[in-house]
Symmetry: C2
Subunit: 349 residues, 2 copies
DNA sequence: ATGTTGATCCAAACCGGTTTGGTCGGTACA
DNA sequence: TGTACCGACCAAACCGGTTTGGATCAACAT
């Protein structure tokens, strides 16, 4: 059922039928309703491809999924994607997804997507500190919104969860539990969020008047194994840190394993807090305390920001910073009674 | 840079340029190379929207993500999506994703997708025993491939992992470890794969000459909580089953929790095997033995099957059954020395 | 000299919509 | 009575490609 068939059927011109369906006032009300009823009855659906060709807009937005091993872990992305997809669908936009490993492939996939003109905008997820995708999109002046911030002087629309605030709060929580020797397994500095979280940790320690021993601040990749190794080093320190903050849950899981392997109990001897609230965080032993991001809502907001961007809202007005929620679980407990460290100095003297 | 501009630039007609680029033999070799070079040099890219309108093919395939809470767990879907996406991309097809909760929404999303004609085919994931999506697609004669089988007499293309074989093997593995009282936390019967897995369990037990106590076979929803409750019931039985097979890892995680709560040790007092090898399976305590599916390969194959389907390969030749891999982990150990059951009957007599 | 054939190239139609720039008849106003 | 204006409708152009059905011309055959 196409427009020509429908208009023949009604004894009207294509023009009039088209304009009737689109609610133009230069079609009489009577005709308008007659056309609409017929369209409804005959199940007429305008061909979006033809509309796209005419309007120059694809009625779709793109999303390149970084599919590298690990990093955030997949549940993160799918929740984001779902949230964004539903929001866009409500406005009649489809979601076009392309999967590529971070790096050249990813950039090529993005390039292909925008030069094919099959999408009107793209959503960039898991931004990195210095993100070539952001450069590409800004250079080409292609509409986009990013999940996360990068080092980029030009203003662009983003939605991020405040890593500084999150780790400030996580650190403060530990301090309130009586911890003083708090260590950090940070992420690699090329990840923007890793830098922010480290800053939050440092700020909270400073605010509480606590010194950070240089040994307490280590960097590790976003894998379980890296978390395991980093934690082993931290646990071996004397005096031993009583709490470890991990850049992500993935690292934290490795950290828990290292604690168990050392014959210690997480949440009792050493407290651990992660970030992301991955599904696995609730099944570790002990369950992992963590900072949670409202992923579906983040996705939905990203979708809506994309719509606003396409509607012409300036980038500078589309920058939001959300707050993570602390999810208390058994891995974060009160600081152990701290006799060892008090005695040690006197023994040395 | 559109075709008209390019042809003006070359002093040729649109027709000739188009045919040159598409390699038609009625353009002289000299012209053909000249056109191709110019196109390359000027960065000409045909507008896929215009091509789609003309050819009637959208050069995209669709995928409706069921986003209901739980069931398989998200990592499953994302891996599948990635695998399929890469395969399709290699053939120039894009992947259009729409997220909807299973049920009416999902069907509506699917309907919208195919009647909008923005996709040439769809991939159906997580099929259910009696799947309305399959009915819809077969009724409309719309090309699709399904991940999983359903009760449907008409032939259609599918790729499934053999649940019968998987649980037959899991059961046999437990029998070889010395287990005799093996229980099953099955899935709801409307899930096709749950039925298959139950059959595999029953077949292996029968083949080993072991009777299945009716109490050992329970059904539970695909959630951690349901697995927890079901396991509690099983653990309370006397004589107690020494092994529990769970329809999915999600249930198995709940099962492990119930075992721990009863003061028992999984893998020692009661062995547990799950299915899916979700990421969290390796961090439970003890780590969860499970049947793993090669998700990225499954996705890739689904993508290729879709291409073959569109190329006209008949449905009956596009039906594949793959085999899951057993991932041994500490939750499945040898059967405990079984003195209690031997004595109990003598006491009763 | 007149067809025939094959190699090249092209104008126009087409895909299915939307937009432009009208026409046509009737009413309002000078 | 002439004309300005308005409401309702429509033919044709357009979006950017591909396909159809020629046109042109040189070489070759009759």
């Amino acid at each position: 059922m196409d427009l020509k068939t429908l208009s023949n059927h009604l004894g009207l011109s294509k023009t009039t039928v088209s304009r009737a369906l689109n609610g133009y006032p230069d079609v009489s009300l009577a005709t308008r309703t007659r056309v609409r009823e017929a369209a409804e009855r005959l199940g007429y659906r305008p061909n979006p491809v033809a509309q796209a060709l005419q309007s120059g807009r694809a009625q779709a937005i793109g999303l390149v999924l970084p599919t590298g091993p690990g990093e955030f872990g997949d549940p993160f992305l799918l929740a984001l994607l779902t949230g964004a997809g539903k929001e866009l669908q409500a406005d009649g936009l489809d979601l076009m997804v392309s999967a590529a490993a971070p790096g050249d492939d990813e950039l090529a996939a993005l390039d292909r997507m925008i030069s094919k003109r099959r999408v009107d905008g793209v959503i960039v997820v898991r931004t990195r500190a210095d993100d070539p995708r952001i450069h590409l999109l800004l250079d080409r002046d292609f509409p986009f919104v990013a999940q996360g911030r990068t080092r980029e002087p030009r203003p662009y629309p983003f939605l991020d969860v405040d890593g500084v605030e999150a780790f400030e709060r996580a650190t403060t929580t530990l301090i309130e539990l009586g911890h003083r020797r708090i260590a950090l397994i940070g992420g690699e500095p090329h990840l923007a969020y890793a830098t922010h979280r480290r800053q939050g940790y440092e700020a909270a320690m400073a605010a509480a008047g606590l010194r950070i021993d240089p040994d307490w601040r280590v960097e590790a990749r976003q894998t379980r194994e890296a978390g395991f190794e980093a934690a082993k080093t931290l646990i071996a320190l004397r005096p031993r840190p009583t709490a470890i903050l991990c850049n992500t849950d993935t690292q934290a899981v490795g950290c828990l394993a290292a604690i168990a392997e050392a014959g210690l109990t997480a949440g009792v001897d050493v407290s651990v807090i992660g970030h992301d609230d991955l599904p696995l965080a609730s099944v570790t032993s002990p369950p992992l305390a963590t900072m949670a991001q409202p992923l579906p809502e983040l996705g939905a907001r990203l979708g809506r920001m994309m719509l606003q961007r396409l509607a012409g809202k300036p980038a500078s007005e589309l920058q939001e910073l959300w707050t993570a929620a602390y999810v208390p679980r058994a891995s974060a407990g009160p600081a152990p009674p701290d006799d060892r460290t008090r005695r040690q100095p006197s023994q040395i003297r």
